[in-house]
Subunit: 291 residues, 2 copies
């Protein structure tokens, strides 16, 4: 093997990437994690060709570095190791917010290429114990290239995504990513948490169906990580939360007023929107090329 | 076959029941539907041993009648056919609200036993074309007996539920059912609709993950039916919608204030609640016998 990919942080996403990337072209996959227990489990699972305790000796020889810690861990790592990356290296990350991470990456030397990534994959459980090579199958791989991103590195990321069996690669700006993710992902987590805050949660056993299990599934999150993700994207996220509050109030007011016709029109419109987006996706159309 | 179960309305639920019930003890399963096209498709699928266009000649010989129309269809059928049910018959339904249906069933003669039912099963698509015998596997079968319910009929419903492979049978009052269902099911539909009302819906392609697909799945509903379900349960439903609005506002205000510690405490509490309820269910405990 002539080249090296260093995966930093072997939690659910990093561990799964280190598993999935093995065998990719002529790259050696090296995993690293601060925790000795995680190192041991990652090595036993084969998360990487090698698992090492210290990233420092690996950095000068790493052609690709994938940062898979929480947001503070990623920005801290960039600042601490800024002078150790190999000239010409590709540095990337898997963080769920991109503007803040791209800003932190501006500390890197001009000969290091940082391209933000966000694999739209996950589970409601975390840690190396839940990592698996198939985690990324048919999910979106979002990339947010910085101003110095090279075509060569973008092509390399696409091949890596293909090898890990992502469904597609979406290229966009950090700002657009954060706006969209506030709506499609972070809001879903705020909803799940809010539903679980209801007093009836522990009384509703026997009355829950698929919709309740699906909607609340992601509430079992890691508070320390998600408080960072929410806080780093607060302007976009508070906007979509407020829009949801407004819309819920409109449904409630229609019911309180006994306005069946108004309510029926709202249901018809929203269900039609949902059916149209399903239909468009089922047909494979791309009628809204918005990025 | 000596006895007869008449399934009225062969949509997704009625059609699936007519499929699943075939072979149950010594009952003949007869399906009926107003639509000739539905009758034809139901007969072709085997939704019932026989499919008939008119329920009227079947009613005097039916030991069990399962009403599977929308709420207005069920209450209309009860009023129209009140004098045609067989003495001693069990009449039941599959409607997602129970107080209103139980009230409508008070028009029945005293020698007819009405026990409300709610199979907590469904799909985001409707109609006989999507009906399948396995729809009910491992879902809850909720029963709300009226004041005249006999133990014999409750036992019969339990055997029917077992034959259709429901996971369990939950017996409760109509009022408690409607309060719980407002939270676990109807609120999930209001959330899904409200999320789909966002302007970004058609722009978010490529940014959606499992949480977005899961949360919005049920938005593709039948407006004519759901406006009835929401309206018939408006007092309970508006209460849980308001509670959700309040909780969302609290998350938003914590983010707007930059109150990371407050936000972290909210996330820790809600995620812990979710993990606890998962744990209880995984262990099979029943620590909240609330009905």
């Amino acid at each position: 093997m002539e080249k090296k990919i260093l995966v930093v942080g072997l939690g659910l996403i990093g561990g799964s990437l280190a598993l999935a990337l093995r065998g990719f072209e002529d790259f050696e996959i090296v995993g690293t994690d601060l925790s000795p227990a995680v190192q041991k489990e990652a090595a036993a699972k084969g998360a990487g060709d090698r698992v090492v305790p210290d990233p420092e000796p690996e950095l000068p020889g790493a052609d690709v570095v994938v940062l898979c810690q929480d947001p503070a861990g990623i920005t801290g790592f960039l600042a601490e190791h800024r002078d150790r990356f190999k000239p010409g290296a590709l540095v990337t990350d898997v963080c769920g917010v991109k503007t803040a991470v791209m800003a932190a990456a501006e500390c890197l030397r001009p000969d290091v290429d940082f391209i933000g990534c966000h694999p739209m994959a996950g589970k409601e459980v975390s840690g190396i114990g839940n990592a698996e090579a198939g985690l990324f199958r048919n999910t979106h791989f979002i990339v947010t290239p910085g101003p110095r991103a090279t075509g060569e590195h973008l092509a390399l990321l696409r091949r890596m995504a293909d090898w890990c069996r992502f469904g597609d690669v979406i290229e966009t700006t950090p700002e657009r990513h954060d706006q969209m993710i506030a709506y499609t992902s972070q809001l879903m987590h705020i909803i799940a948490l809010s539903v679980c805050d209801n007093d009836e949660l522990f009384a509703c056993k026997g009355f829950e169906g698929g919709s309740f299990r699906d909607c609340t599934r992601v509430a079992a999150l890691d508070p320390a990580m998600w408080v960072q993700l929410f806080s780093l994207n607060a302007p976009a996220l508070t906007g979509v939360v407020r829009a949801l509050e407004d819309r819920l109030r409109q449904y409630r007011e229609a019911m309180e007023a006994g306005d069946r016709e108004g309510l029926r029109a709202m249901l018809a419109s929203a269900s039609d929107r949902k059916k149209r987006i399903d239909l468009e996706r089922a047909r494979g159309d791309d009628v809204h090329p918005s990025f």
